[in-house]
Symmetry: C2
Subunit: 401 residues, 2 copies
Amino acid sequence: MATGKGQLPTLHPVTGFKLGIASAGIKTPGRKDLVVMEIAEGSTVAGLFTQNAFCAAPVTIAKAHLASTTPKYLLINTGNANAGTGEKGLSDALQSCDVLAAITSVKKDQILPFSTGVIGELMPMDRLLKGLPIAAAALSEEGWADAAAAILTTDTRAKGASLQYGKGRKITMTGITKGSGMIKPNMATMLGFVATDAAVDAELLHRALRLANEKSFNRITVDSDTSTNDAVILVATGASGIIINEESFDQFVAELKTVFIDLAQAIIRDGEGASKFVSVVVEGAVDTDEALAVAYTIAESPLVKTALGASDPNWGRILAAIGRAGLTNLDVNEVQLYLNSVLIAENGARAASYTEGTGQTAMQPEDIEIRVSLNRGQATETVWTTDLTHDYVRINAEYRT
Amino acid sequence: MATGKGQLPTLHPVTGFKLGIASAGIKTPGRKDLVVMEIAEGSTVAGLFTQNAFCAAPVTIAKAHLASTTPKYLLINTGNANAGTGEKGLSDALQSCDVLAAITSVKKDQILPFSTGVIGELMPMDRLLKGLPIAAAALSEEGWADAAAAILTTDTRAKGASLQYGKGRKITMTGITKGSGMIKPNMATMLGFVATDAAVDAELLHRALRLANEKSFNRITVDSDTSTNDAVILVATGASGIIINEESFDQFVAELKTVFIDLAQAIIRDGEGASKFVSVVVEGAVDTDEALAVAYTIAESPLVKTALGASDPNWGRILAAIGRAGLTNLDVNEVQLYLNSVLIAENGARAASYTEGTGQTAMQPEDIEIRVSLNRGQATETVWTTDLTHDYVRINAEYRT
């Protein structure tokens, strides 16, 4: 299952950024599973990576390479996460960089490797390496849609976002992402690759990435499980000739956020087993931490999520989640709870105006907003999540078989 | 579904403690749903209650009454939690105490009320009040098994534990509990009532309760959702004439822990949709907090739980859970992971000795132990949990219908 339309939008090419794919047969013969991305000379690159201590071998290598030099190529495979693979995993990831470096005549530390798929199995290196020259030969600025398909795992659809902005000469921003389960990014997403033709120096680019990421990939959860392989990369090729400086930075970040939020929401719309797209909005919190504590406690409650899947306005479970979110001195009589625009509960009880009928009606749409007003401060945060369905259990009981 | 045998053991009567039940028809006509418990003169009573800020009306009343005097009666209903019911809920809970006080000729603050069931609906007071004289008339020291049945909600079986210890004159301890979903007790359980005929002063009794509770009800999770109605009550009637002092305290607590752990494990064995009984043991942690962080992150991971339900040794998901548990400077190469006695992973990767076949075999039993050696300290903790199955989703999608 999945929610929304799910059609891949038009993905504008970004001058100076090329993508090529191959079918290496890493897990499934014949499927597109290998992507090489080429970054033009003079680009800047920023990245964020999973905080999971058991981070995958390619994450370790990519972080080290990104810290040492400006990358020229990104190398992504699906079908195998190269995580929980110890020393062998690290040498495999390095070898893949070595081979691609030889093909493309760059140094191996100019290549960032990324993997996604099953954890705990060694990478089938022969198949992966054979795919590299094929992907490298296919490099094209038109390759976004193919690449969006080639990085998927349990996803049911390709995910991308793209925009252009500016008067006269325009800046283009295009990105793709993947992710459906093991989704609670922590400082990053599953995998996201975004490029722009703006010219942005490395420090500004990293700031922009952090700001856009914080309100997008860092605001989603399917199942509370942070992946071992999360990474998001932002490339600025500069090919538009438009330089982003302190003055134009805020607009650049605002546009970038639009792309990032589109991508993050696309992950939630394709969340494993999802039949609902749920926005949890917490307002009137003392601070961001408090707003997020309440939002995530609701968004990750199995009881709330199963009720959502059943379109059951079981608001008592939402109150129970708010109540266990660990807030200091919460006055439950001040809390108001809305489903979409319907006031459900206040003064610690069902709202006088609420009827089961209005609640049932509010729960029918595919897109649901749960809004909590804590009425004790100014902070507001939004987290996006899915419901919990039989399909989620089926997908994750069967994933390895 | 449920695991284990599930037969209610012999529940020894505790002299000085009586139980009576009635069918009040609070939610379902004809089912046993109301319990009154009578505490003999001279008893001591200790209690622990949910930390959920949206605690139910009867929890608020019971805490206040317990703080003001020694209770003479406990009044428990199932079918309606009287939570999320605001001021009306409080007055309803007080009224039920009033009416039982009149029937039994005690003061209303000598009565502790407890409710469990659906959250957010007003208590059908007429039906509840009509049941009170019937339950009071049925009071008997032989009433444990009936009471164990009359406090259930989505539970599929009654839960109790009982033991006698001592040379010559013996001390009896008997308890019952309920709970199947919304199970992550925080300082208490769903509902648990334990009585002993030992004579224990109030301060010692409270200490004993805290100690026994901490390693039993505070070490279980079905779905990470802390209930609004959790409470556990320990009564010492003193009828055996055996006085517990500082010298005999340790043995008393050890025996009490046995009863409490039996009860807590019975909740997990009857966890909603459970097909596995899972012990998560974390050893070699720096401290208790760290051990519990890892144990609960594993025990609450939907991906680990769905793999358990499928008897799939998908150990990569367990490593991912350990890695996101928030430990400072975790060296993943020091971590060892066992399924029952099978070493699955070490040095950040699959153990050399491990084969998929041994993993599959280890996952077949109904009772599974996941053991994590962090190898960086001396603390060990055990948490008990269930798997996540289609039945869990079905039960919680259908609960209100």
